[in-house]
């Protein structure tokens, strides 16, 4: 199979490309600048630009669409341009190019208000409920591509929950940075249970979804390791693996959420670069439970995670020991 992977330079993108290559697929990658990955056909461009997309899609059988704007803060128009319009673009170009299957990488937050989730399945995306520009734009994008699923090009949406692994700059990187500078408090009790997805498992789930697409067309699945852990344990495991001393300091959840909202406003007002130390959405995510019923996902995709969290922490520690 010839597969186009958009956003291939992200952690999950790189692992997905490796998984495809390993099983003998030929891989085309598409992102803003050279990926530097071995064994792939490189295409650079923006998913907002139809012409470069068309070139990349020539002869492609399947698409795994990972490219997205994932920042915690930013302008709505930017999120919309990349996550909504860009996704529609990729989908339309793929359909026109005669692609036979389309895996859209989404997020569990597309169906999420502020309440705890304990063991639920994948609810429908709902842009009216979502918190933050990222989730809202992803919810709209998912609704659009799933609605456009067809017999000619079945679409399946995969929502991996908190993808982590060696080299992760999103979650692990932030935790390590903050813990090092003594700015990693526990929001609330730190005992909310949260699902994570080891990056290898997320990648294999995307590949499985590509294979299963004709059978599960138009559906969305949350993917995780199926080993929910408390936020406290996650931070402790990560800091332990990378060899940082961390002693938890509790901040009441309400204070953190209010503080996050204030920081976001300050960042927006002053036009500061980078991201605020905490956002309201982030604080809420860290103080409520988010773990999912994986039975349907596993049965429908014919997929099981192969890397347990215990194995993952060892890999993370090894990665750091060897100067990763």
């Amino acid at each position: 199979m010839r597969v186009l992977v958009t956003g291939a330079t992200s952690l999950l993108g790189r692992h997905t490309v490796e998984a495809l290559l390993e099983r003998g697929d030929s891989v085309v990658v598409f992102q803003r600048s050279e990926s530097g990955l071995d064994g792939v056909e490189e295409h650079c461009g923006s998913i907002t630009d139809r012409a470069t997309l068309d070139a990349a899609l020539a002869g492609v059988d399947g698409v795994i669409h990972l490219a997205a704007k994932v920042d915690p803060v930013g302008d709505w128009e930017d999120f919309k341009a990349i996550n909504v319009t860009g996704t529609a673009n990729v989908h339309a170009a793929a359909a026109d190019a005669g692609v036979a299957r389309f895996v859209h990488v989404s997020s569990p937050s597309v169906a999420h208000g502020g309440a705890s989730i304990s063991g639920e399945g994948a609810e429908p995306a709902d842009p009216d409920q979502t918190r933050g520009h990222y989730s809202t734009s992803k919810a709209i994008a998912e609704q659009q591509v799933l609605a456009a699923s067809s017999a000619a090009m079945p679409v399946v949406a995969i929502r991996p929950h908190l993808v982590i692994g060696p080299g992760d700059t999103q979650l692990i990187g932030r935790i390590v940075d903050r813990a090092q500078s003594g700015r990693m408090p526990l929001i609330g009790s730190g005992l909310a249970l949260v699902d994570t997805t080891w990056v290898d498992n997320a990648a294999s789930a995307l590949v499985a979804a590509l294979d299963a697409a004709p059978d599960v067309a138009g559906r969305a699945f949350v993917v995780s390791n199926g080993e929910p852990r408390t936020v406290h344990e996650l931070i402790a495991r990560i800091t332990d693996a990378v060899g940082i001393e961390w002693s938890p300091r509790n901040v009441p959840a309400r204070v953190a959420i209010a503080g996050g909202a204030a920081a976001e406003a300050a960042w927006e007002r002053t036009g500061r670069d980078g991201e605020p130390p905490m956002t309201a959405f982030g604080a809420e995510q860290l103080s409520t439970a988010h773990w999912f019923d994986q039975r349907e996902t596993r049965a429908a995709l014919g997929w099981e995670p192969s890397v347990t969290l215990a194995e993952g922490w060892l890999r993370l520690a090894a990665h750091h020991a060897f100067g990763g």
Binding site: S118, E120, S189, L191, L193, G226, E227, W291
Partner: protein, 869 residues
């Protein structure tokens, strides 16, 4: 006369739980012959095999039957009219008395051409109306209706002599208040919700209030209240009396009484009045549900199950045997006459021989029957600690056919009170402390002191007599009645550690079978003698023909036995058997050093140590044998108040269990006892027993048992009995487990505590056993968190260095726990929360309420406040 306002109104379509398609309008002549328009709930089936006619009270309407309408099977029709001038039926402005309402209802059912099999269901003053209707139908020779069942919920047909009229009704009837409370305002209507427990949700209140939004529409609420005949010359008094008297003629009509005992209008007294008029009725009484009983508990399911079960073998079946039975026959054995039956260790160390005990029992039975006028079948609560007085009272009850009610003092006052209200004993025989509690807590039953009291003290305790005094006054030629094997012979209350205490009913035949099972199971012979430090078995020594004693301890506090008290007791009767709870055995083992200076030779004669009442660790039994009772075989019976024993296992067998046993299921409790059948009903993925049974070894399921010595049913809990009595004569134990290839039973916890993981149901006990042996863990509970089927395992552990507030285990301990649990049952553990103490029941200090812990864990693990469980 029908006002324009009411003629066309229908219930708002969006009322909570109400289906607008149920609304039906019917014109029928009322008692005056005038055509009036009824609104009724009609769920629709036209070719129904059965019709349920449901009649509401005041101030409700057919809304009160919405749950029933939704729950009935498709081939059962529900007709629930709104009484005239009530609900959405027409407003006539007429005052309708009870007799009028009965005639009105007859007019409606005639107009509907109601025919065929009919079950009547009623609530509140719908009771008298429907009962009047029912009696009129029965009196008709040409009635097309075949009455096949009657369900009454919180209602009344008579003011019991020892009850004053309900305060709510008396207040509402006060001149000047009536109209203001019922018509001018919605005070009476809303007052109804104050009688609810738990609180009625706002959406449901709206439903009840909907038809009564104007004073004009509320007019009949007042006339309904006025029509309650509190005075004997009231125009409705004669009608109601006739209805009440007529109930005795309904002995062939299957009847169910569903009662919320938390009702401050119709208290237990009204239930007991109805029971006395309908002695054949099935009764389901909920201890705290209020007046609007079908809002507070799931009455619809009870009624649906009862309707389906009518005609089938009643689950609460009494034994067929009508042969006479004498549970006291061993006392009469001439061979035992001079042998010591009971020796008391407390106080003066009194003892009685079998001959003396027999004389005392005979005299007491004659006194209870002839002087105290206790009749066979009357219930007598016995609140006397184990010893001669208890044996005398118990065996005297059995000899004359009274029914002893046994409530463990370890339950504590609140649960004891609840138990006494369930059993409603006619008499209470007790020590002064029990009589004082009975007086203070207003327990039912005439009070009799077990030992002689001074008269001021007797007055203070409200005791009418004492046993010795009664015996002195008995006539010499008293002829005692002869109890039958099928007669009720005991009500024993469960420990109630995971819910309210239930009264378990036994017949004489079943008690005799229980005694015989113990004899067969443990090869008990007349050569044996018994130290009983465990309450239930302390009673059976005389019935087994054994010399017995109770150590000088508080049997409801097992920890009060120590090595030297045990040695005293063993020496006193030269015991060959010791029955004790694990907590008592632990205490004995811990205090064995205190015996350094004493000669412990008497311990060498003990051949059997029976550890009962709670799970017992093997190593504790081993220590007890090695250090205390060197020649004894240690046995642990498994069973429950409803069936004891079910199975038994000895220490040697426990220590030599195969490694290919069912460790992933739980603990081995041995092979079923003689005469006991055991099987399992496999669980579905949500942890609910499927109702099928299987003999396939190793299948996890709910354990079902049957035996000649199992319970008959639960007292005043028809539905509970029904659900615990699957077809085939089984008792569904509520325990989960499996049977291995060798026929041994393995138990893994309670069905309600099963963890419904994505891999299927998993028992908590094997997880806990794997965790309990880890360093630093005192004991643990494993619970499922999340929706059934997707649950993750969470361990809650009591640890050696208890944290001040609950906290997560260290990473190292989490690793250990995850490894241990993965090895034991192959499941991931989401986390382990360490707490200072696990919540346990008071009686055994060992039964952990895992359901409550699971709810607590979910709150904590969703980021809620972290308080001790």
């Amino acid at each position: 006369m029908t006002t324009a306002d009411s003629a066309d109104r229908l219930p708002p379509a969006d009322l909570d739980g109400w289906d607008p398609s149920w609304s039906r309008l019917v014109d029928a002549p009322d008692h005056t012959g005038e055509l009036v328009r009824w609104h009724m709930l009609d769920n629709g089936p036209t070719d129904a095999a059965l019709t349920v006619l449901a009649v509401h009270g005041n101030p409700t309407w057919s809304y009160t039957w919405r749950h029933l309408a939704a729950a009935l099977p498709a081939d059962v029709r529900l007709i629930a009219p709104d009484q005239l001038d009530m609900g959405y039926s027409a407003r006539s402005g007429r005052t309708r008395r009870l007799a009028d309402r009965i005639a009105d209802l007859l007019g409606l059912t005639d107009a509907l051409q109601l025919s065929g099999d009919v079950v009547v269901v009623a609530h509140d003053w719908g009771g008298p109306v429907s009962l009047g209707w029912l009696q009129a139908e029965l009196a008709r020779t040409d009635s097309p209706i075949n009455l096949v069942g009657l369900v009454l919920t919180n209602t009344a047909v008579h003011q019991p002599p020892d009850a004053s009229a309900p305060t709510v009704i008396r207040t509402a009837r006060t001149p000047g208040i009536l109209r203001r409370a019922t018509v001018d305002t919605t005070a009476f209507l809303r007052g109804m919700f104050e009688l609810s427990n738990p609180r009625t949700p706002a959406a449901v209140r709206r439903g009840y209030l909907a038809p009564y939004d104007t004073a004009e529409r509320r007019a009949a609420i007042a006339t309904f209240v006025e029509d309650i005949p509190l005075e004997s010359d009231h125009p409705t008094a004669a009608t109601l009396d006739a209805i009440a008297d007529g109930l005795t003629g309904l002995g062939d009509l299957p009847t169910l009484l569903v009662w919320g005992a938390g009702d401050r209008v119709f208290s237990d007294l009204y239930l007991h009045d109805l029971e006395s008029r309908l002695p054949h009725a099935d009764v389901h009484r909920h201890p705290s549900a209020g007046h609007l009983v079908s809002e507070d508990i799931d009455v619809a399911s009870i009624v649906v199950d009862w309707i389906a079960a009518r005609g089938a073998e009643p689950s609460d079946a009494t034994d067929a045997s009508a042969a006479p039975i004498d549970l006291t026959e061993r006392l009469r054995d001439p061979a035992l006459a001079d042998r010591v039956a009971i020796r008391e260790m407390a106080g003066a160390g009194t003892s009685v021989t079998f001959g003396e005990l027999d004389d005392l029992v005979q005299a007491t039975a004659e006194a209870l029957f002839g002087v105290a006028a206790i009749a066979p079948g009357d219930r007598v609560a016995l609140m006397v600690p184990p010893g001669i007085d208890l044996a005398v009272a118990l065996y005297a009850c059995w000899r004359m056919g009274a029914v002893p009610v046994l409530v463990d003092g370890g339950l504590g006052p609140t649960r004891m009170s609840a138990a006494m209200r369930v059993a409603n004993p006619d008499y209470l025989i007790g020590i002064p402390k029990a009589l004082a509690a009975a007086r203070t807590l207003r327990w039912p039953g005439r009070r009799i002191a077990s030992s002689a009291l001074s008269s001021p003290m007797a007055r203070l305790l409200g005791a009418t007599d004492d046993l010795a005094g009664l015996r002195r006054r008995r006539a010499a030629d008293t002829l005692l009645p002869t109890p039958k094997g099928s007669d009720e012979a005991a009500i024993v209350f469960t420990s109630g550690s995971t819910g309210p205490s239930k009264g378990v009913r036994y017949t004489g035949e079943r008690i005799r079978a229980q005694v015989q099972t113990l004899i067969d199971l443990y090869d008990i012979t007349p050569e044996d003698s018994l130290v009983a430090a465990f309450a239930p078995f302390a009673l059976y020594g005389p019935a087994m023909g054994l010399t017995s004693t109770v150590p000088d301890m508080d049997v409801s506090a097992p920890g009060s036995l120590d090595a030297s008290t045990l040695l005293d007791a063993v020496e006193a009767v030269d015991a060959t058997m010791v029955f004790a709870s694990p907590a008592a055995i632990l205490k004995v083992v811990e205090s064995i050093d205190e015996l350094d200076s004493r000669d412990c030779a008497a311990f060498d004669h003990v051949r059997l140590l029976l550890s009962a009442g709670a799970p017992v660790p093997t190593h504790l039994l081993r220590t007890a044998i090695d250090t205390v009772l060197p020649n004894a075989e240690a046995h642990t019976p498994y069973g429950m108040t409803e069936c004891l024993p079910v199975a038994s296992i000895d220490l040697t067998a426990l220590e030599s269990l195969d490694t290919d046993g069912l460790d992933e299921i739980g603990v081995c409790v041995g092979r079923p006892a003689p005469g006991v059948d055991a099987t399992v009903s496999p669980l579905d993925e949500l942890g609910t027993p499927t109702g099928q049974i299987t003999d396939a070894p190793g299948t996890l399921g709910e354990v079902w048992v049957q035996a000649g010595h199992m319970r008959v049913g639960y007292e005043r809990l028809w539905h509970t009995t029904h659900r615990a009595s699957p077809a085939g004569g089984w008792h569904a134990t509520g325990d989960i487990g499996a049977i291995d290839a060798a026929g041994q039973l393995w138990i893994g916890g309670r069905t309600a505590h099963v963890i419904c993981s994505p891999r299927g149901p998993v028992a908590p006990v094997p997880i806990e056993r794997a965790v309990d042996v880890l360093d630093g863990i005192r004991r643990s509970a494993a619970v499922g968190v999340g929706p059934p089927g997707a649950q993750v395992v969470v361990v809650i552990a009591e640890v050696v260095d208890a944290p001040k507030k609950p906290q997560q285990s260290s990473l190292d301990r989490l690793d250990e726990i995850r490894k241990a649990v993965a090895d034991a049952v192959g499941l991931d553990v989401a986390t382990c929360l360490e707490v200072a103490a696990l919540p346990v029941d008071r009686r055994h200090n060992s039964k952990i309420d895992r359901s409550a812990l699971a709810e607590w864990a979910l709150r904590v693990l969703e980021g809620g406040e972290v308080k001790a469980p």
